[in-house]
């Protein structure tokens, strides 16, 4: 596997006791982590170039490393790390991200260290970074050609689309049970809808949590992680192939915030710490409100009185919802509060850490719940674009990309 060089820019990850995890995962996904160096005497100058200086010498050194990497053309991506809960580190990390984005066109990921990180969290980030670097020419594709199938084997639902000459001609969506059986079912349903036989299909592409298993089963010609694929799908669905854009993707069990330039992800932030910011929270809420999930958003739009849930938590937030209903708060106000709770949590945990570059494109299953879109618009003071077939962003992205393989 050809390795790509990625700069690790941190204030001393080794002190968190987790450097070995980064080294191990980088090796597995084909990344060579490099640490740009700079003379101590030049740190002050580098900070002046960034336009920021702080008390911590290591954070100043971190900014110097960022300046130093600009001189190394072999570096193709950057990984910015500081400790979770370090306020000064977070400010520096964000400042460096902006500084680099203004000067170079390369993917950058940010991560906050904890002493016991989940391997999967780091793996999915580094894997996405590798794809964005190594498959850049493929990701530049703006049009689907021929007949292809895209399968998004998600943790909550499995989606498939059949695409022909850049149009969706068939689709399928079911809750994920066994990933392989679910994939077979949605592919069948999408092919039936399109009136196309499987033998006429040029290629199948897969993405999503179950992509390894499903990919082998369907003999996929392309198997890619979700970040690059969803960004591409969002760009295709909203016809946003040029310039900057931000993609919010909220699925059944996790969420992503992706900054995009010319239809390719450049920086991203993955959620997944708490189920309260996922579609699952809204599913439970709609069950408690005795309304189908597909009607929850419409119900929320009828709300006239603002009500707040007392917690974002899947358990305590729902408890608060039940108490509200019991004390006479109207179902539409409770539905709006549930939508606001999800939007608020995504805002606090992810949007606040990155700047928003308009237009904002909202995709994933939760984008179909109008109440959440409205809450984002109110919160951000900006119109949100929910493109047609937004729930199929992953499937459309991979169906398009596989047509270029």
């Amino acid at each position: 596997m050809e390795k790509v060089r990625v700069a690790q820019i941190s204030c001393g990850t080794e002190y968190s006791g987790i450097q070995w995890i980064f080294d191990d995962i980088a090796e597995r996904v084909g990344i060579e982590l490099v640490y740009p160096e700079m003379e101590l005497s030049e740190v002050e100058l580098a900070c002046k170039e960034v336009g920021f200086e702080v008390e911590s010498p290591s954070l100043n050194m971190m900014m110097a490393r960022a300046v130093s990497m600009l001189d190394d053309p072999t570096i193709k991506g950057a990984l910015l790390l500081t400790c979770f809960k370090c306020a000064e580190g977070t400010i520096v990390k964000d400042t460096i991200r902006r500084f680099l984005h203004e000067r170079i066109d390369m993917p950058i990921i940010v991560y906050s260290n904890v002493e016991k990180p989940k391997e999967r969290e780091i793996y999915s980030r580094l894997e996405a970074l590798k794809t964005l670097i190594a498959r850049k020419s493929l990701l530049m594709r703006e049009k689907q050609e021929g007949i292809t199938i895209g399968v998004d084997s998600g943790s909550s639902t499995t989606k498939a689309v059949v695409m022909k000459d850049n149009e969706i001609v068939g689709e399928g969506w079911i809750p994920t049970t066994d990933p392989v059986e679910s994939a077979d079912e949605v592919i069948e349903s999408a092919l039936n809808g399109a009136g196309i036989s499987r033998t006429d299909v040029d290629a199948i592409g897969v993405t999503g949590h179950g992509r390894e298993l499903v990919g082998k089963h369907v003999k996929a010609a392309l198997n890619l992680e979700e970040v690059s694929v969803i960004a591409k799908g969002a760009a295709l669905l909203s016809r946003q192939h040029k310039g900057d854009a931000t993609v919010i993707d909220i699925g059944g069990m996790d969420n992503k915030l992706i900054l995009m330039r010319d239809g390719i992800a450049t920086s991203f932030n993955l959620g997944g710490i708490c189920g309260g910011s996922s579609g699952r929270f809204l599913e439970v809420a709609s069950h408690r409100l005795d309304v189908d999930i597909s009607k929850l958003g419409q119900l929320a739009l009828k709300s006239k009185v603002r009500h707040e849930l007392q917690s974002y938590c899947m358990v305590f937030g729902i408890q608060s919802l039940v108490v509200a209903l019991g004390s006479g708060v109207k179902p539409e106000d409770v539905a709006a509060a549930a939508c606001r709770s999800v939007a608020n949590q995504v805002y606090e945990n992810q949007i606040q850490e990155m700047e928003m570059r308009p237009p904002i494109i909202f995709v994933g299953g939760v984008s179909l719940i109008e109440g959440v879109t409205r809450e984002f618009e109110t919160m951000l003071g900006i119109d949100i674009t929910v493109p047609p077939n937004s729930q199929y962003a992953g499937a459309v992205g991979i169906a398009t990309l596989v047509s270029g393989v």
Binding site: G12, S16, S56, S58, G89, N113
Partner: protein, 148 residues
């Protein structure tokens, strides 16, 4: 006496302590033990889970991971020190801990030990001699007190 220096990786202060007839307690020794320990992988980036846990004697579980790692490495130094020299406002090239929060907290922990401590401001240029002389006088006093 065992004299802890701050910044804890200052080669100059460690040398002064040795010249003054005492044993310097410095971070390099702790890192060196990690590097030579066959049980610990990937030196020198080798702060272990044990180091992080050891820090919990001094910092709460809510503190950032890197701060815990740093305090975990420094805790044994703190515990064995019989005296200390804290150099204030030293430039990073003199010796550096990197994380300013860990820096502040470590100095606080030293002061709380209530061991004989000299706090002296860093002086460059011609005034450096005064600073060195102050340190040497302190080390001489420690020796006298040790003999008593």
């Amino acid at each position: 006496m065992k004299v802890l220096v701050y910044p804890p990786n200052s080669m100059i202060l460690a040398d002064l302590v040795e010249r003054g007839g005492h044993e310097p307690v410095v971070l390099m020794r702790e890192i060196g033990e990690h590097v030579r320990d066959a049980e610990i992988d990937a030196p020198p980036l080798n702060v272990t889970e044990e180091d992080l846990k050891r820090a919990l004697r001094y910092v709460s579980v809510e503190e950032p991971a890197g701060l815990k790692g740093r305090i975990g490495l420094l805790a044994p130094l703190l515990e064995e020190a019989e005296a200390s020299i804290i150099l204030r406002d030293a430039p990073p090239t003199f010796g550096c801990m990197g994380c300013v929060v860990a820096d502040e907290f470590f100095k606080y922990l030293i002061r709380r030990r209530e061991i004989p401590t000299l706090e002296v401001a860093y002086e460059g240029g011609e005034k450096v001699e005064e600073m060195v002389s102050e340190v040497m006088t302190f080390l001489e006093q420690l020796k006298k007190e040790g003999l008593r």
